[in-house]
Symmetry: D2
Subunit: 160 residues, 4 copies
Amino acid sequence: MSEHAGQPTKSSGGHDAGERVQASFARQGLMRLLGAEVVEVGEGTCVVEVPFAEGITQQESYFHGAVTGAIADTAGGYAAMTLAPPDREVLTVEYKVNFLAPAHGEKLVARGEVVTAGRRLFVCRAEVSVVEGRDERVCAATLQTISLSPARAPDRKPGT
Amino acid sequence: MSEHAGQPTKSSGGHDAGERVQASFARQGLMRLLGAEVVEVGEGTCVVEVPFAEGITQQESYFHGAVTGAIADTAGGYAAMTLAPPDREVLTVEYKVNFLAPAHGEKLVARGEVVTAGRRLFVCRAEVSVVEGRDERVCAATLQTISLSPARAPDRKPGT
Amino acid sequence: MSEHAGQPTKSSGGHDAGERVQASFARQGLMRLLGAEVVEVGEGTCVVEVPFAEGITQQESYFHGAVTGAIADTAGGYAAMTLAPPDREVLTVEYKVNFLAPAHGEKLVARGEVVTAGRRLFVCRAEVSVVEGRDERVCAATLQTISLSPARAPDRKPGT
Amino acid sequence: MSEHAGQPTKSSGGHDAGERVQASFARQGLMRLLGAEVVEVGEGTCVVEVPFAEGITQQESYFHGAVTGAIADTAGGYAAMTLAPPDREVLTVEYKVNFLAPAHGEKLVARGEVVTAGRRLFVCRAEVSVVEGRDERVCAATLQTISLSPARAPDRKPGT
């Protein structure tokens, strides 16, 4: 399983989904490495952006497909988290991504949304666009299965 | 499209597929950022590894799913390149990845192979394992469609 | 490859996409066996329906997942055909289907649409709903890759 | 969800997985309509065949892609059933199918196998071959997610 959340935020002082998403996102080292940000969280939706940077492109300033896939997966997973009970872990079971156009531009924007929310499984989709000046074009689409699991007991020593 | 190669290596001094794969891989900024390496190239196969590092994991030392997806896509794409004519670009049209187990360990290993090689489309698959001490377990599986395109003319000024 | 069209209708008397779709559909034995019909063809869209029948369900009057998958694939493929040059074959390279809810009702409706239309590859998606009385609920979603190929020369003897 | 089993066989007189698979398969109207048969059941494996017939092909005697998808899904799902507890329902969450070659021949053979067996989710794959005389060639590959659910109470009137 690919985790979006690890151990979920114990929502001390608020069940707000946006807070949970941001707190979980902040713990993801890779998202920091890529320079990705959650820019919008709604009910069943999440938008993730990543600006252009040398390290995450290929030659010729194209965003790498793995970055596209990563933020699409993330946007879909956090869209699911907004509708999941706070004590559940949100894990990606699988996803499929189609690359639709070369991702050349200043910024990638992944818009994730929940298609159906079941008791144990969610299906989400995301569309990724690349922004170049005033131009925005869709460059990838995903369809994704998310699993909700009971949160694992945190693996920590007593007293910490 | 997600590119593995951009403009293909003009195979100066050898049509060797392994060289082409390594040359193309070396130009991929993201693979460097992740610390990934091509460790084996065969006829229709490619093995990519990435060692554990803080920046590419989640909390609790799990490899991030995006890293798993990235090296699986890469291993499959370069497996295709070994069977493609040298003047063709190798692009990922789409892939599906199933996450099978938490990726906890010292090293991820993606083994890609060509399932069928058509004139314009290849289908590849990859299996990703996580290595921890002497233990190795499969943590992801992909099924992938690759397109072979005529190489685009390099977009550069004369004399450069 | 999975074909939607076999050798394409030579559009005798009109390049109309709707006619081409209906002519191709009429040649598909399986669609007849399932009782499926193309009920709407637009520019980049196609709607396929199949009414309830004993032979295509499971016990308890659920439509079989294979029927759901079949009409989703078909709706997406013919949506592609409406935007394809008339001399091209429309083949399904691959698709992914997520089953979202039990398909219990009188009728399945698959709505296919083109997401992006390339020179050689189209990406399409379809949503399948099940209709029961006045109720309609989404029961499946697909994401699909379609290939456009030059029509193969018909395999026939000279003089026929 | 796409069901392989509906309400599972209550294993009257034997927990044998092969019996459960055959009993479940026998209740599937569509498999009868297609002329499909389970020809082999192992531990974590299942082979489904379907002979050539006019109604399930396209023009030119190609097997229809939906038939290919249907028996691949079925072979994978029943492979899962062989490793599932007898009181669990086996449902297809989703699958992806790649069509690798035209399916022209006398018989389609789908070989399904379990890749990983979790507590609630299985991942399976299947390969479909087409047999023509002594020739057998792979024509499709699938990767599939299966869910194990507690069996639903049968919906029946008292006294029946």
